[in-house]
Symmetry: C2
Subunit: 148 residues, 2 copies
Amino acid sequence: MPPVNPKTSYPSGLDCRLAVLGRDARLTPHRRAVFQTLAESTDHPTALDLFTRIKTRSSDISLATVYNCLEHLTSNGLIKQVHLERGQSRYCANLHEHVHFHCEKCGKVTDAHPMADFDPATYWNLPKGAKVTRTDVAIHGLCPDCTK
Amino acid sequence: MPPVNPKTSYPSGLDCRLAVLGRDARLTPHRRAVFQTLAESTDHPTALDLFTRIKTRSSDISLATVYNCLEHLTSNGLIKQVHLERGQSRYCANLHEHVHFHCEKCGKVTDAHPMADFDPATYWNLPKGAKVTRTDVAIHGLCPDCTK
DNA sequence: AATTAGAACTAGAATGATTCTAAAATGATC
DNA sequence: GATCATTTTAGAATCATTCTAGTTCTAATT
């Protein structure tokens, strides 16, 4: 096994999360840009949002590459895809267990972190013998700013 | 206020739910077909599913009309739109409070009814001052048939 | 340093779900 | 039975995403 090139492989120093990737998953400038732009965003941007931000702030990139990078990062478990309504997918670099609060007026999406363990089987009658792997919770309502 | 035409207005006898509509919301044969076809379905069909079922089983209809009827029924609160993944919207005539169990293998969607009151604020740290109007819960996993 | 094989990037085409448009049909009221 | 609003329709348009196929880039090898 040849040595990993420190310049182009996902370094564990930059962000421990990036280290989970195998050595053949390259940390290209584009992937870095997509990941970092998303990590700096608190607003759950769409692919197009990220495309615009990366294009104006830093390097040139194509929309197809943004989609490729997002798919790569998602399938490697570095980021998560979020679906709140039909339409565009949104992305989220927060890997801590959390759910989403969606403001129906301004559209803002806020992460809500757990205070206690949650088991859906205590609240809903699941099919007998079903095996739960994941529970998606989306809370809709009015954010503090929009209740005024 | 002129009398309601019993033949074309949503009758309260057929299904009490249909009575919630105002008198200017007509119960056309197409709307009736879309509603009834959905009400008889347990599989959370897509607009295209409903289009095919209505077209083959009963009257002729266009896909645009299915979309129009679904939009009409949804905005009048007679049916619900369900988004489990990106892609097509699914529809559900079950208005009892419930959540959805989605089998990741066979794709089947099952309604899961509540056994206890559920307040998301006891589990997740919502933004201070936020007002919750609705909580969408989608439970993903393997259905009883697929665990075998 | 040049070669090579594979991975990543790209523009533009293609796809799939949905919405829009504008005209025709239908229904309700006058 | 005329009139006006609503519904239906086919087909065009749109929007987000994925695909295609050619090009460029990267890293290991010569």
